[in-house]
Symmetry: C2
Subunit: 333 residues, 2 copies
DNA sequence: CTGTTAGCGCGTTCAC
DNA sequence: GTGAACGCGCTAACAG
């Protein structure tokens, strides 16, 4: 492997000059710049990134910490992050937190040790205080999917409360009043917010929130199955006509339970989901759901870093709006 | 940030000794080892990975190149790779190839430049020759989802041909003889192999493969939609009773077309998919499909590296077998 | 505009 | 068992 030294020899210049042309430093005459460039590709020279990082204290890498890698949620986000960063020759190191405080902290340490220039975090178990503290450290961080007032400019998030409101509001506009709810894990911020939105929509039409009609799921298909099984037990005494699930995967699980029992969807029961994952429009019935622009949020996190860390000139906005996508899983009572 | 020098000062030993205890070198007396350890955590010392990499020429990182990050396929794979490697304190750098030769090569270069100790590649556009050549280089590679004879010990793959055979064979055992096929992209190796398996099953019962009953999809829901739309046009003259799709996503798209036209599934048409993605068991009807242990293959790739590169003592096997998962989307004629 | 010279933090011979 | 010294490949003043 050729080194910068070899290049300097072949080009007949000093190490520093070679370094200058690599780093697009303007103070190099076009003539010597060409000599160096020629020498470089004659030698097939590739800079050693470790040496660069060691000397410059900049790794051109960003760590991305997500809760999980499987499921339909994080893939699109990661894809956009990778693509945006890659364009600027930054690379991404991934780590998984599993929604567990210890593992999340451990992953942060791990990424920090790896010398990441910055961290993109989608964490839920760790405390606000921890993150605020972390943000005061030398490595800048961006939060996806979480809002913390003290560091709000570092937060890229969806108005989950509004989304939850829209889901239930839609059912209400269709005449539903007895609406069950399968929520996400109570420890997840977005799950809490979506539920709050649901309650707000209910209270707007003076319907009391009934805890017996609310089940805490896990954001997975199984959670939908469990939730629906539970709700169906309640139904004889609490005849709800619609169910909103805090994400599409749970809708899918919930509907599968209904179909197995011979119910017709949406005739017997209306459903509204959340996230608008790709499957939502191919499943039967096609899911009415709330769109979550997760890929855009991933991209925005990457752009935020490019702007604030690598000084690119880019427009950034932090907050994203949910949108109702009306399809076939919900109908008027 | 404390350096190795600070530790050596506090412990009253030399730099070399500190380095020795870090690298578990045995030639250190227990007494001085303790002094060093104490000094380390007193200072909150963390080794600088760049300096380590530069000096040792080993980065403890592996590059993972996949075709795409979204969709239900690569998430589980990435998850297992990350988990297995992380346990050994290796980190993973991801890159995306988009099934395009230029981008795949570019990504390989990118990862190589990043000083990865090894590469895990799930590539399809790049030629066998390129990969064989790459395997001769200083950085070792593992291939997921692809078999190349000359470097077979580096290949972790599924018996796709057998899987394709099993899918169609299942339908045949149910009495179907006129079976349509929606394949994956012709440029993808696994798509080709699955189709070959399909043809083998057909020929076993002396049924001629009818090109008019075969559609090249894209492995996405849209491909299933397009494929089914096409096939339905053929049906008046070619009355097939079953469809096998080269993956579950396309089944989902295909079924949605049928349902929209008022057909009943599986009564009017049987379906068999491939991959057994999580959704397959929650969709209606529940998908009969061929299980693809993609997460195990991811894990195996990571273990292979641990064994062959980092000298861990691990059992490894390269080839995985598909398994038919019978559910509800296919019934006897 | 270009060259010289220190480091960056750590691994690794060598002596002792 | 331990320490001194050099080198990994590159960046960043500083000097000219």
């Amino acid at each position: 492997m050729a080194t910068i030294y070899d290049v300097s020899q072949l080009a007949g210049v000093s190490l520093a000059t070679v370094s200058r042309v690599m780093n697009k430093n303007t103070n190099v005459s076009e003539k010597t710049r060409q000599k160096v460039l020629d020498a470089m590709d004659k030698l097939g020279y590739r800079p050693n990134t470790f040496a660069q990082s060691l000397a410059s204290n900049c790794s051109n890498s960003v760590g991305v910490l997500v809760s999980q890698l499987d499921g339909p949620y994080y893939g699109p986000m990661m894809a956009e992050i990778e693509a945006s960063l890659r364009l600027e020759n930054k690379h991404v190191i991934i780590a998984v937190g599993h929604s567990d405080a210890a593992q999340e902290k451990d992953s942060v340490e791990f990424l920090l040790d790896r010398g990441c220039d910055a961290l993109i975090l989608d964490v839920e178990a760790v405390s606000d205080e921890y993150l605020i503290n972390l943000s005061k450290g030398p490595t800048s961080i961006v939060l996806i999917n979480r809002y913390i007032e003290q560091i709000n400019e570092r937060c890229i998030y969806l108005e989950n409360e509004l989304g939850g409101y829209m889901a239930t509001r839609h059912l209400i506009s269709q005449g539903h009043r007895n609406i069950a709810y399968i929520s996400g894990p109570a420890k997840k911020h977005d799950a809490i917010e979506r539920l709050v939105g649901h309650k707000r929509a209910l209270s707007e039409v003076n319907v009391d929130f009934d805890p017996a009609l609310c089940f805490e799921g896990d954001y997975r298909e199984e959670g939908g199955v469990d939730g629906m099984t539970y709700l169906l037990q309640q139904r004889p005494t609490k005849p709800f006509t619609a169910v909103v699930c805090a994400n599409d995967q749970m809708v899918s699980g919930a509907i599968s339970v209904c179909l197995e029992r011979g119910m017709y969807i949406p005739q017997d029961l209306s459903f509204v989901g959340f996230d608008n994952i790709p499957f939502a429009r191919y499943v039967s019935p096609k899911l009415t759901t709330v769109n979550n622009p997760i890929h855009e949020m991933g991209k925005m996190a990457a752009l935020w870093l490019l702007k604030n860390l690598y000084n690119k000139n880019i427009e950034v906005n932090n907050v994203f709006m949910p949108e109702l996508v009306e399809r076939e899983s919900s109908i008027p009572v």
